[in-house]
Amino acid sequence: MRGKIFVSLVFMAGLTLLLTDEIFAHGTGYRHSGFRAVALEFMYSTGEAMSYREARVFSPSDEKFAYQSGRTDEAGRFAFVPDRAGMWRVIVRDEEGHQCTAEIEVTAETLAGGSQSQDTGTILHGRELLLRGMLGISLIFNIALIIRRRHAH
């Protein structure tokens, strides 16, 4: 009886050793990547960050299925690592229907490690925002005056 138990234990120990590599293969790990990421900032036209919004990345080779999806961070930032040169699209949208599409030209030089910085959005701040607001109100009242004049005639 003892002999049988001993043989069984030896068999199980051997099996465990054989499977050790297999078990370790399901572990996790990380390493610093040398790949160049494309980092973007998304904001509303008032300058406010598009925080925690849904973001989808479309590669030049497949415009239908997203290459990557996720969310922007609190500051409206989102990054991805392109794997080929060409025109990449990043679409960020909120629950209210606002959407921003960034089109990024990734060159072979960028993939090889060159820097890339593009400013494609229109951000309105302080004075410009105020001027545009005043222009809008002025236009509304001018349109109203034109309509009133037509009614008077």
């Binding site: 008032t46 925690y52 229907g97 959407q99 109100i137």
Partner: protein, 199 residues
């Protein structure tokens, strides 16, 4: 609540423009020439309201003032919405020109509906509490109706937007409550200080 350019299908955009043309034609016929400057004033408030951001947790949204517009301008509300949205698209980049018709329907229909449902009741109401409750209901309903119309347009474009539509409606619940409170205070102030605006 603005729907951005490039989301809606051609058919839905066409329906939006058809609704806008009908609503603006109707509104222009109902516009009282003596109240055109008042209409411009309300349209300006709506135009600027989009710049007032309301923080909700990690997200934020902006005021729409749909119910006050509807209650003050009544059946003449559509032209005021169209002009304000056109200038928001051109000057601030909200929405877009192709989607302008759809956005005008999304915001004009609730404003018009609120004026028809609550307009008379708010005008004749006397007690402060009754005015506040009616105005709150008008403000809340206008926002949820606008979100509902935007949701229908997204769903008509692509049934896959169903998830986004649910999110859209849920995201607008706090906005609706805030708009309800703002509408209640605004209407109570108008009833007391400038009741001719609601006449």
């Amino acid at each position: 609540m603005h729907i951005s350019e490039g989301i809606l299908s051609g058919g839905v955009l066409a329906v939006g423009w058809a609704g806008t043309v009908a609503g603006v034609s109707f509104g222009l016929k109902r516009t009282n020439p003596d109240r055109i400057i008042q209409t411009a004033l309300i349209s300006s408030a709506f135009f600027l309201a989009s710049l007032v951001n309301v923080r909700i947790g990690p997200s934020s949204t902006h005021l729409t003032l749909l119910a006050p517009m509807g209650l003050i301008l009544g059946q003449a509300v559509f032209p005021a919405v169209l002009v304000a949205l056109l200038l928001q698209a051109v000057l601030f980049g909200f929405g877009g020109l192709a989607v302008l018709g759809a956005n005008t329907v999304v915001m004009g229909v609730p404003a018009l509906a609120v004026s028809m449902i609550f307009g008379r009741a708010v005008r004749v109401a006397t007690g402060r509490g009754r005015v506040a409750v009616l105005s709150f209901m008008a403000g809340t309903l206008a926002v949820m109706m606008g979100a509902g119309i935007a949701g229908i347009m997204l769903w008509m474009t692509d049934a896959d937007f169903a998830g986004a539509v649910k999110l859209l409606l849920v995201a607008h619940v706090p906005v609706a409550v805030i708009e309800g409170v703002v509408t209640a205070f605004l209407v109570m102030w108008l009833k007391k200080s400038a009741p001719e605006f609601l006449s």
